[in-house]
Symmetry: C2
Subunit: 311 residues, 2 copies
Amino acid sequence: MAFDRLIENIVEKQNPTVAGLDPKLAYIPEYIKAEAFAKYGKTLDGAAEALRVYNKGLIDALCDVVPAVKPQAAYYEMYGWQGVRTLAKTIKYAREKGLFVITDAKRNDIGTTMEAYACAHLGAADIDGECAEPFGADALTVNGYLGSDGIKPVTDVASKRDKGIFVLVKTSNPSSGELQNLELAGEETIYLHVGKLCEQWGEGIMGKYGYSGVGAVVGATYPEQLKELRAELPHTFFLVPGYGAQGGTADDIAGAFDKNGLGAIVNSSRGIMCAWQKESCGERDYAQAARREALNMKKLLTDVTGEIKLP
Amino acid sequence: MAFDRLIENIVEKQNPTVAGLDPKLAYIPEYIKAEAFAKYGKTLDGAAEALRVYNKGLIDALCDVVPAVKPQAAYYEMYGWQGVRTLAKTIKYAREKGLFVITDAKRNDIGTTMEAYACAHLGAADIDGECAEPFGADALTVNGYLGSDGIKPVTDVASKRDKGIFVLVKTSNPSSGELQNLELAGEETIYLHVGKLCEQWGEGIMGKYGYSGVGAVVGATYPEQLKELRAELPHTFFLVPGYGAQGGTADDIAGAFDKNGLGAIVNSSRGIMCAWQKESCGERDYAQAARREALNMKKLLTDVTGEIKLP
């Protein structure tokens, strides 16, 4: 199971951090942009090339510190198909460096359409008998609003190809409660209901460390719900956004972990990517600044988890 | 407002149909695939080229019959960045032919990330002061599970650039009720609650024909709910999937329209795209077969709506 590999990576690195790769041009050092624009102009091609080089530097500096990276699809799509090509190259390079790659794309649809997304991001395309891997991530975030018809096609692909998914349960943003916190007539909230569906959806693809291939996105900014969901969903691995820039602290996410320090991986995007701007170090030091911040975060998180052990 | 342009297109063509462009390789005539594979091999490039040629033929045959097309992003992503390049080319070509283009991508995220999706699909990317349009559709489908934080960034872009969005409310698939039909403690269903949010989100971007720039996806397969939602959401334009292959009939969608025959656009994907396989006509006749089926569907729908008039 895919999350077995993620778990082994976390234990090996003693670090439950996933580094977000959300490369806005504003985060990228001038010298990288200047070189890309000199080659391709201030075009989608130029922007996509700057993203690629920036990501490569980050991956090189982070790959022995963090177990996983999480490229956010929106920031690649913003630069057109050229940006999406950089997404594919980034995923490939990160995997070559031993990183577990979670594509954060929050995809959702039904039936054969959802199967197409699953083949795109986790599987392979069948081209008249020839097989090609379009993006090849290890896990994908998905939105469960459409119910099982939107989940089964992707768990089918995930279980065949040793991949995982994270379903949005309780997201980190201020207005997440508008829908997710509404109370159902049966007196449970929507987010808890979706969380319980994750436990069901994961039943057929259980890993050897007690977690299934169906994880959940649960925001660091809601510590109470994080604790509640950890207790209610013992087989569901959590992807925790909202740490750092969005206000979540290491203490806030304490409730996300199990007694072995497993059960969750905490995302930091801007915190790591923009460390060079915060430190005001030289821009050519951006990757090492990211590494220093990732080491800081590792320390803060492992102060909470203690030694991370396989069960 | 974007839906004003859609409405004018519908009235001009006297046809409330949107043709889905979900180009699976299995739907594409052999001669198109053979030519593409001869040039690029059975690769992602070859598949993407076959999709492009197939779509161009469909658009040429349909552009004076239907007011709009709806490419489904999943079928392009399945063929990697090369497929996504075909999505961009398809959108551009369809718009040149006067079609209103709805990218069906069901995107969802929050804050600056959702803004990136909005810029990608409806807006422009700022590349160090230069502006580039990555995909340039007229409307985008979105998933509202994350609440207003996921909608406001896209309505901001939509209102500035004369574009629209369709929020998933009651989807056409069998398991859509697992979440969407749950009853809230206040005795309304989740889908109705999300529908009412659409009315709110649309308040600031009202068009001249009484519909806002925030539409809703409501499946043809649930005629009761379609009628209920039409009554409850007077300013929300509906995108109606599930007609034809999924089982919805023209009678099922009668409740989606207002007294002028407006208020909804009905999608057919496989029905139109695969008409040549159903008819067993020659494969080189695929585009004309699609046109014949689109004319059939127009007849069936306008039997229900009567003459479609501006209010």
